[in-house]
Point group: C2
Chain length 300, copies 2
């Protein structure tokens, strides 16, 4: 970066060589995406940026810089803002995505819109639309951990915001995405922010295919259960596809990779996703995401 905060725009110089620019924006709103009684400010700041970094990861991209538009209620303690920014900047530093600009305003609730700019080798960004029938489906890490915490919070539980918690401090899978791009392994990719059923549905729609997954193959997080692994959001794991003959390692950049199913030609079922459950029956999997901070699953 050449020039950050303190001018009308940030000025970024992209590294030499043929690159495409990646840009993503994610809006986080108090009581929609986080709650002050539940999320310490450091966690809220970390989660805010993690959403954007995870989008860059989902393209196989490399983060370059981030920008933050912040709306703040007048009565909000300065200490809350300082700690929010600390949580955000610690993550920004770790992924070499310095805070390069933004805007600030008064607002009725805390509003944080994060923009992350990144880059990928020209023409190599991994899209949602690139998978074909016969490809295998993989996920990183474990599923359902974040939603399991959220469920306990709704049930009135007090949970300390541990640094190792995938809910409070999700780790964007940037290195995994970069390695998959570099080695040309993935045909399509998305991050699991809304839940596996919703996000695999996006891949199916953008690629014009169907998918079949095996319930027993899913890497269900401890304390999560199948339902949360299928529909729980905010895991920020990567979901990708690769040709059947591609040799996908068990671990990429230190993160476990699990095969969970196969891509099929587009079918006329009610849902693009079929799931084979533990007793061998196949059923349609509706795309249900965990609606942020309401006590229900909803169709989307």
């Amino acid at each position: 970066m050449l020039h950050g905060i303190g001018d009308d725009c940030a000025v970024l110089r992209l590294p030499a060589g043929p690159h495409d620019l990646l840009i993503t924006t994610d809006l986080s709103i108090e009581d929609v995406h986080f709650r002050r009684p539940w999320h310490p400010p450091q966690s809220a700041g970390h989660r805010c940026l993690a959403r954007g970094l995870s989008d860059i990861a989902a393209m196989g991209g490399q983060p370059l810089a981030c920008f933050l538009s912040l709306g703040l209620p007048f009565q909000l303690p300065q200490r809350w803002v300082d700690n929010f920014l600390q949580g955000l900047e610690q993550l920004a530093q770790r992924f070499k995505a310095p805070l390069a600009g933004g805007d600030i305003s008064s607002a009725p609730k805390i509003i944080a819109d994060i923009v992350v700019a990144g880059q990928a080798q020209r023409g190599k960004a991994i899209l949602r639309s690139g998978t074909r029938p016969g490809d295998r489906i993989y996920v990183t890490g474990e599923l359902g951990a974040s939603a399991a915490v959220l469920k306990r919070l709704y049930a009135g539980g007090h949970i300390r915001a541990s640094r190792s918690s995938r809910h409070f401090y999700p780790e964007p899978r940037v290195e995994v995405g970069e390695q998959l791009l570099r080695e040309g392994l993935a045909t399509a990719m998305i991050d699991i922010s809304d839940g596996l059923s919703v996000d695999l549905g996006h891949i199916c729609r953008e690629s014009g295919v169907s998918a079949r997954i095996l319930a027993s193959a899913l890497p269900v997080a401890k304390a999560a259960g199948l339902e949360l692994a299928l529909h729980g959001g905010e895991d920020y794991e990567l979901l990708f596809t690769a040709p059947a003959k591609a040799r996908i390692p068990n671990r990429v950049a230190g993160v476990n990779i699990t095969g969970i199913g196969v891509i099929e030609p587009s079918k006329n079922y009610r849902s693009a996703i079929q799931i084979i459950d533990d007793n061998g029956r196949t059923r349609s999997l509706a795309a249900r995401g965990w609606q942020h901070f309401t006590r229900q699953f909803r169709e989307r």
Copy 2:
């Protein structure tokens, strides 16, 4: 643009040749930056994007794409959103900055964070920090028109949101900025979003200089008066400096250019800006911006 809405990130391919990337974000919040009883949705959408385009103009840049994060109250009529987007997209189309992505969420008030990406020839973006003593100070168009409308709105006036109104449909000075960059005329530049006294103060601070302006030279908009021309915000005109010997035309890209003062070495006055008033007296000009939607001027 290669790939817009419908993936984790937008993918932008910058044109060949050595360019720097410009990025700006501007947060617009209902009842802070616009009011539904005053601003038709088309105007609110136009104003939202104009803020970002004006920041690109202030660097001499060329817009490439825009991104919108939108927070919407549940009860907001869909028609309002459609018209807001129409106002925004018409302006986007005119300046070849297609809406390439964004995010959406529920929110307690309408929230619209606009991101504009642009480009400038490598190393040529016009910063706030480049002016030197002896440079002359110029502004585009007229000053105070937007604040004059706002003042009438506060006084209870009903004002039709005319397409030609600089308050309801401000025209970002993108072509002016591009031409100033291309011809290498400006040493520093900023857009007048907070008011001349505030924004000239930014140039002084970033460049480490003082400024002396002549009240009688200011291009005061009809119905505005000197106070609003000095301190009224949201004109989105450009304020730039150029060496004394540079030949600045009276019009650039069809917009009037007016010389209003001179840059001086940094002085130890209370304010970096001195103004010579109509009876020849010099006084310090405090940086007072029109605070959005409050009835007062404030120091900032």
